[in-house]
Symmetry: C2
Subunit: 158 residues, 2 copies
């Protein structure tokens, strides 16, 4: 992971991959299906949404009872595991940024825990298949959580 050959100008990394010694374990509860792969994946969810992708969640059937109470049209917060990301970068230079910035000031997938968070709307519900209005990750990205989006928690205080 900390291969200096992969580091761009201004980027810094920890001397070792922090993921070598995990503190806790995550389980994958399903997969996100999207039209995206390396090369055609939109840079963010706004750009993804503009392309009206066919996107959905294939939830592991054993978790299907946990969907009870969710409804079509509802906004949800998805947490998913960016399994192609590197985890050792302290500062990084995304292609749209001129100078290196701290990992925690960016939404880059490269971070100590490569958990992405996006807010989407449910467009359909059929057993363990959950249609969503858009997503910005590669097809087959592991899903780790679905939460109801709530204005009182998910909008910053004034």
């Amino acid at each position: 992971m900390a291969d200096v050959n992969q580091i761009r100008a201004g980027e810094t990394a920890l001397p070792a991959d922090p993921a070598a010694k995990p503190d806790a374990g995550v389980v994958f509860i399903g997969r996100i299906r999207s039209p995206w792969a390396r090369g055609n994946c939109p840079r963010n969810i706004s750009k993804a949404r503009a392309e009206h992708p066919d996107a959905w969640i294939e939830l592991d059937p054993k978790w299907a009872p946990a969907l009870a109470g969710l409804v079509v049209g509802q906004p949800i917060l998805l947490l998913y595991w960016m399994n192609h990301a590197r985890r050792d970068l302290l500062t990084q230079t995304p292609t749209h940024v001129d100078v290196a910035r701290g990992t925690f000031s960016l939404r880059s997938p490269n971070r100590p825990n490569p958990v992405a968070a996006s807010t989407v709307r449910i467009t359909s519900l059929d057993g363990n298949r959950i249609g969503i209005d858009a997503i910005d990750c590669f097809d087959d990205t592991p899903l780790i959580d679905i939460k109801p989006w709530l204005e009182t928690i998910d909008i910053p205080p004034a």
Copy 2:
């Protein structure tokens, strides 16, 4: 974890703790400090905020360079690990809800991956200490991510 004695009326659980076989590992990047413990912890961040708690993040110093670019006043999305939660519940009955609901329709800490998400504002920045306006978790809860909150990603589409 799947102790039937702990299950309330209407609740359902997987037959085994899903966390026994993790698919990936998370690393703790710091701790959230708060006045809360079992018994006095507010039910959600709105209630926590109303009590004007003294709350801050103690980031592991090795990650401090990754804060570059964050500023006081900025809204951030925190992801933290609810290490006292159970991970096997499919449906559950929080104290404020009458009938059991699916885990994914609730913000309960009890979920397959006990990652909580809250949006807060940075009130101070001093080395690896980040003041925040409020939080709703126990003192010493492990932190796993800090992201800039962005309207284009974190507000549902119309």
